[in-house]
C-alpha cells in the first residue's frame, strides 16, 4: 500500500530582487497513516515553507510530493493547517468561527454541523458557542482553532508551532489536549516546532532539519515503554532525556 504522504527530493527557493534564497534542499521522507511526525530545526531552516509545500500553498521547484501515491494536485487530499496564532475572527461568534471552513467549502450540511457540535461538546466549548473569541482563554482559543481545522475532516493535519503564542503553563496543558484530540480523531499529523521537548513528547518520529538550506539531518523514531502515552507522561519518562540529548546533538552538528 502507498504511504499517506511521500516527499521525494523536494527543493524550494524564494526569489527576491536582492537574489534567491534556497530554503529547502533535497527533502525526502514518507509518512504512514496515523503517525505523528515532528519537524525540528534551527530558525529559518524552512520548516514553515515545508508545511506550505505539503498543503499545496506553494509548489516545489524540484522533486515531487505524492499523496496516497498520486501527485498532490490530483489527489484531492483534504489537508488541515493550523497556524501559529488561532486567528479567530472577533466579528464572528465562536460557532461561526469554527464553521468558517465548512462555510467556505459550502459544506454546512447537517452531517458536518453535528460533528462540529459533537467536538464542541467533547472539548468543553459547547457553552461558548455564541460567545465572542475574546471571551475564551488562550487554551480554549487553540482548541476552537483545532476544531475549525478538524471540521473539514482532514486526512492530514499540519501544525505550525500552534503553541508558541501561549504561556508555558497553558502550553503544557494545551499540548496534552491537542495530542488527545488528534489521537481520538485518529488523525495523521505533522508538527513543526522549535521546542525539542514538545516534539519528543508528542511525536512518534522526529525529523531534524539542518540550518538553511534545510536538508534532512536525521529521522529519529521515538518510542516510549508505556501504556496510554500522553505528552505530559512522556516528558517524565526515563527515555525522554536520551531522545532529547540525541536530537540536541543532531541539531548542533547541523548548526
Amino acid at each position: 500500500m502507498n504511504p499517506l504522504l511521500e516527499l521525494s527530493h523536494v527543493s524550494y527557493s524564494y526569489h527576491e530582487v536582492n537574489g534567491e534564497t534556497l530554503a529547502l534542499s533535497d527533502i525526502s521522507f514518507t509518512l504512514k497513516n496515523g503517525s505523528f511526525l515532528a519537524i525540528v530545526g534551527p530558525s529559518g531552516c524552512g520548516k514553515s515553507t515545508l508545511l506550505s509545500l505539503i498543503c499545496g500553498l506553494l509548489e516545489p521547484e524540484e522533486g515531487s510530493i505524492a499523496f496516497r501515491g498520486k501527485p498532490l494536485r490530483e489527489a484531492g487530499a483534504s489537508i488541515g493547517y493550523m497556524l501559529q496564532k488561532d486567528h479567530l475572527f472577533e466579528w464572528r461568534t465562536v460557532y461561526s468561527n469554527v464553521t468558517l471552513g465548512l462555510e467556505i467549502q459550502k459544506k454546512l450540511t447537517p452531517k458536518h454541523l453535528s460533528s462540529v457540535d459533537a467536538m464542541l461538546e467533547t472539548y468543553g466549548l459547547s457553552s461558548f458557542k455564541n460567545a465572542r473569541p475574546s471571551q475564551l482563554s488562550g487554551g480554549m482559543r487553540q482548541r476552537a482553532a483545532l476544531i475549525r481545522t478538524l471540521a473539514l475532516e482532514p486526512d492530514l493535519l499540519l501544525l505550525d508551532e500552534p503553541f508558541s503564542a501561549l504561556d508555558y503553563q497553558t502550553r503544557l496543558s494545551v499540548c496534552d489536549d491537542i495530542a488527545a484530540i488528534i489521537k481520538k480523531e485518529e488523525k495523521t499529523a505533522i508538527l513543526v516546532t522549535h521546542d525539542l521537548s514538545e516534539a519528543i513528547s508528542m511525536a512518534d518520529q522526529v525529523l531534524v532539519l539542518s540550518k538553511r538550506p534545510g536538508r534532512v539531518q536525521k529521522l529519529v523514531p521515538v518510542t516510549f515503554a508505556m501504556e496510554e502515552r500522553t505528552p505530559m507522561r512522556a516528558r517524565n519518562a526515563p527515555e525522554f532525556k536520551d531522545y532529547f540529548n540525541l536530537i540536541w546533538k543532531e541539531l548542533n552538528i547541523s548548526g
Binding site: G80, W91, G101, I104
Partner: protein, 265 residues
Amino acid sequence: MAEPSLAQQSFLEQRKRRLRAITLARIFIFLLFLLVWEMSARLHLIDAFIFSSPSRVYKMFVSMVSDRSIFMHMGTTLTETLLSFFLVFLFSVLSAVLLWLFHSLSRILEPYLVVLNSLPKSALAPLLIVWLGANMKTIIVAGMSVAVFGSILTIYTGFSEVDPEKVKLIYTLGGNKKDVLWKVVLPGSVPIFVNTMKVNIGLCLVGVVIGEFIGSRQGLGYLIIYGSQVFQLDMVLMSIVILCIMAMILYQGINLVEKYCLKRF
C-alpha cells in the same frame, strides 16, 4: 454587590466633581464669548453692521423661521451633504475593492490618486459648474470631490494592511480570493470604514458649501455668499452658526454608528 470602599467612593466623588467642573468651564467660555460680543456691539466698540451681534443673529434667525425660508436652505445643504457622503462611501469602497482585487491596477493608478488627493479640490468647483450646470447634481459632485480620493486611498491602504496570516488561513481552509474579501478584508476593515466616515462627513460639508458659493440659488453656502454681497452680515453669521451645529450633529451621528459597530466588530 458589596458597598465600594471609602477610598473608592471618594475617588469616584472627586472624579465626578472634576468632570462637572470641565463641563461648567466649557459653558462659561461660550456664554462669556456671547456676552463680550453682544456688549461690544451695544457699546459701539465694534461696528454691529459689520460684526453683527448675538441678538441680531437671533433676530435674523427668527425672521427666516417665520417665513419658513431657513428650512429650505438648511434642508438643501443637509440633503446635498448626506447624498454626497453616501455616494463617496459607496464609490470609495467599490474602488478600493477593485484596486485590491487587481494589484497591478493599484500600482498603475497610485501616482494619479496621490496627485488627485493632494490637489485643492475647491479649484475644481468652477469647472464642475461649467461642465454640469448650476444645479444640485453639481453641488453633490463638488461635495464628493473633496472627500473621495482620500477616502479611496485610506480604505485601500486598510485593505492591504490586513494580516497576511489571516489571508493564509482562508487559503488553508480551501478558500479563494473572493472568500478572503468577504470573510476577512471587508469585515476586518469596519473600523477603517468608520474612521473614514468620520473624516468624510466634515469634508463633504466643506465641498457642498464651496459648491453652493459659486453655483447655487439655495443652501447655507448660498446664504453666506448672498449675505456678504448685500452686506447682511447677520445672515452670514447666522448661516455659519447653523453650519457649526449641523456639522456637530452629523459628527455625533457617525459616533452612534461607531458605537454600534464597536459592539459587533
